[in-house]
Symmetry: C2
Subunit: 197 residues, 2 copies
């Protein structure tokens, strides 16, 4: 890796870290982009080149965690057993998020307090689910492939969201992996009240 890319990574991380510091200390709305740029010792112009909106500053880590797992899934061979693959996707996402619990909690905190951040977070998971649907559609065969893929992708997303939500709400609660297994068990067990067909 050349010096150029190295520097890019460095400043990117620097900006992101300083932004989080300011956001958690003074709140998202009370922190201006200029303040972040000043704290990171770059011009506002440079900051905007790395992060096109203020919200992306908050969501980068979560987005990377989710789409990293999705990209792994995309690279799997076509013969991959889908139930196994989907389970792996869930575990991969959760593993990635668990690498930085404080950051995840801060993200959800900010998303709860600031509507624009909440909206962007919702949009990220929505887009993630859509792209998983596309990938699943290509791996499925038979009738109603579109619907089947979309329902499967939606279910996977539900599990992840529920587990993460529960996890960030109770610090030091059950392990995330156990939570995920509980959710999957409930779904398979059929104890969920579904609308009558």
């Amino acid at each position: 890796m050349g010096l150029r890319e190295l520097k890019r990574e460095r400043t990117r991380r620097l900006i992101s870290d300083k932004a989080f510091e300011l956001f958690t200390d003074h709140g998202f709305g009370r922190t201006t982009v200029e303040q972040i740029a000043a704290a990171a010792e770059v011009g506002p112009s440079t900051l905007y080149r790395y992060y096109p909106t203020k919200e992306t500053l908050v969501l980068e880590f979560v987005e990377d965690s989710m789409f990293g797992a999705l990209n792994w899934f995309r690279e799997q061979p076509a013969e991959l057993d889908l139930p196994d693959g989907l389970q792996s996707v869930i575990e991969l996402v959760l593993d990635q998020l668990e690498r930085n619990p404080d950051r995840v909690r801060a993200v959800y905190e900010l998303a709860g307090q600031t509507p624009s951040v909440g909206a962007r977070l919702a949009e990220v998971t929505w887009r993630w689910r859509n792209e998983l649907t596309v990938e699943l559609t290509q791996r499925l065969a038979g009738d109603s492939v579109e619907f089947t893929a979309a329902l499967a992708a939606g279910t996977v997303m539900n599990i992840i969201e529920i587990v993460v939500q529960t996890w960030v709400d109770n610090p030091d609660g059950t392990q995330v992996k156990d939570l995920a297994h509980e959710a999957m068990g409930l779904l398979r067990g059929g104890g969920i009240p579904l609308p009558t067909a």
Copy 2:
């Protein structure tokens, strides 16, 4: 209803309609709030009192449709059969949306083209699912109530989103109610590849 409320409804609708006209003609990003206000013959200041953000102008109808159904559900007696109730919620939302198909299609068009609109739309459905989860939690008893409620609410939301998505993508396709039944049938039939527990 007094004259005051009547006028309020009128201007609200007028603003919303003019906004949609401009959005569909020239695009969301190329329409300014001032232009909308001028078209509706109100001051920008007044417009902001009705619609706090430009995006709410787009999403009002969808939001009302979804939360109308949710409020109906909240008013049902505690003994309500949940599967039946959830099916009714789905049908109610779809009924409401079907009252203005052009508007729904325009909303999804704008949401696809404009990130901030897409984000707000995702946030609306996300919040809707959360509130349905709360309501379901109160109506459930037993172990893992939180998880059960969240999974049920998530599934209901998935069905609605999939049906609406399919509906807006193919004009003059299958009836929405048939699409909903197809989705529910698939779910009950167990043909969906779920992650291994």
